[in-house]
Chain length 343, copies 2
DNA sequence: TTGTATGCGTTATCAA
DNA sequence: TTGATAACGCATACAA
């Protein structure tokens, strides 16, 4: 019965606004969320009271009362990988206008961590979930299928979406890159791969398919490691590959970091690129066009993947699930000096 | 009076656990948060009930009831800048074990966006706040000073912390890099700067101080742009600088992206590095030691800054504010081929 | 269009 | 050490 001191540190609540505006609390609530359902006059009074008090709604109370948090859960395997950094930026940029917050987590390329984080996220009743790749564990898949919110799988596409997908085919990317090297005149084309997560595996599969189709495949051409990718590692992989196969005349690199390591090592070892060895990367980071020689790569649309993922989820939240549950953003081969053997 | 259908989708609540364990709800709450305050027997019964039901506490309800969210608010100016990506990774890695979530936002190097985001974050009553730099707007500073949670300013250190700080002196970094170039024998040393945020400005100030002390300063040696940094931009800035000052014999680059652009352009223009022009970067990204020639740079401890920021905040939360409110993690000059004129 | 009563799942308070 | 009760701030259901 004692009027307890406010636990909340005295910040203005919706009741304070309502009192000042001379209306009911629920009207304030509505004026903030669905302004069109409140009369012009009241809306203005309320708006003024909000500003006078500096009222900011409490997202926790809101989430509790509505059994739904205005949160997009985002799971990525890496925060520092430039590719995912750009995806994440696309997501944040698309979401910064609206009421939604982002809950980001790093799975460290681990399916088990993904499961754990998914559990955690789900306990918040997110408005939508964005997960990387299509190789979720069975448990994760089940969690996602029964999550009563839109789910978007990003980076890759496949035949069996949990809900929606936006990405591109890494297998095709690997095939196109490899075919380009073959057409450029290379015959002994090495594959250099780090990390070897599922997407890397599929690029490798594309490489193999292209090489076999051309009758050029040799398992000794493949050099991979589970170690995380880096420019340093690119150099090391290239050295290993050359030691195994001194007659290499081309390399398709898992990603641009590896390719850059190859380029630098070629400088150091005075190996002519592309004349002696041609080089193709993957992702087409900004620096590939500035490198010397400039590096051929597969351009992927990371930022756009982030944006589209949000767009699709948003549409689903608004009740208008997009007709296409699978969006293929494709990729483009960027031909540059590192594979141009003409001159 | 009607038993309303549960809005929450039927997930088990603390009451369900309490019933199954045959205890009061509050005891369950305590058993989860302060196990030592609950008797061994009850704790076990509760633990079992939790597992049987698959109970996961609702963070929103928890935040509402305790007027405190288990959230670290983190404000960075960029998500894709490799430096901040690593800081953020350090923060996430340090926090992934405990109960704290991360609320990350991108200020896009805008003080006004930072203010807005701070307002938003504060409405969640975060457990701690981590902000980038020391140049908050007056409004932001006031918000942070009155935020009743630990605040850590990261990346930079200065004389007047809001609460705590961890970083290093960018001015000193700029001075050390420039002095190194001077000692290497360079006389007409250019400064190449992109973005020119406060930290870049202070590196420039360090450069100027060193150049003036050596009697070498000339304003025409400085080439800057507010445009965001990239390898491409590094090339362009370098071309501009050379056009203005063909007699350049060294460049100190704002960061490693710029330096890499310079290196590539030197290859392309057949300018000998370091003999004709020496190059020094800033941050020491992995690739700098692999580049050809390898690039001298200032090594900074990004990941560690993220970890320490969390550590300091955590200590403050636990009531044991660290004795040193200002932690200088310093930096190291990494001498490499790009400034080695001996041979 | 607006308001009233009630509940969301949890923790703080206070008493036992 | 444990529990009953009352918030926390807001949104839903329903009525006016």
């Amino acid at each position: 019965m004692k009027p307890r001191t406010r636990r909340g540190g005295g910040r203005p609540t919706i009741a304070d606004v309502a009192r000042l505006a001379g209306v009911g609390a629920i009207t304030v609530s509505r004026a903030l969320r669905e302004p069109e359902r409140v009369s012009e006059t009241l809306r203005q009074q309320i708006q003024q009271a909000v500003e006078e008090l500096g009222y900011v709604p409490d997202p926790n109370a809101r989430a509790l009362a509505s059994a739904r948090a205005e949160v997009f859960g985002v799971l990525v395997p890496s925060l520092t990988n430039a590719v995912f950094a750009e995806v994440v930026r696309g997501i944040y940029d698309s979401l910064s206008d609206g009421p939604f917050r982002v809950q980001l987590a790093n799975t460290h390329y681990s399916g088990l961590e993904e499961e754990r984080l998914l559990q955690l996220f789900l306990s918040q009743r997110p408005a939508a979930l964005i997960v990387s790749g299509i190789d979720q564990t069975d448990t994760s898949r089940r969690l996602l299928e029964t999550a009563d919110c839109p789910v978007v799988q990003i980076m890759e596409i496949g035949p069996d979406p949990i809900d929606m997908m936006v990405g591109f085919s890494h297998l095709e990317g690997g095939r196109v890159a490899t075919n380009h090297l073959i057409e450029a005149g290379c015959r002994r084309i090495g594959f250099l791969g780090a990390r070897m997560d599922p997407r890397s595996q599929r690029r490798l599969a594309g490489y193999k398919a292209a090489m076999k189709a051309a009758g050029l495949f040799d398992p000794r051409l493949v050099t991979t490691t589970p170690v995380p990718s880096s420019v340093t590692l690119g150099r090391d992989l290239f050295r290993d590959a050359l030691a195994k196969m001194p007659s290499l005349d081309g390399v398709f690199c898992n990603n641009d970091d590896i390719a850059l390591g190859v380029i630098f090592e070629c400088h150091r070892a005075a190996i002519a690129v592309p004349q002696t060895i041609s080089v193709c990367g993957f992702n087409d980071l900004d620096m590939m066009q500035v490198a010397y020689p400039s590096v051929t790569s597969i351009r992927t649309h990371r930022y756009e993947i982030g944006r589209q993922a949000v767009g699709m989820a948003m549409a689903a939240i608004d009740g208008s699930r997009p007709e296409n549950r699978i969006v293929d953003l494709g990729f483009e081969l960027r031909r540059r000096e590192s594979t141009d053997r003409q001159n």
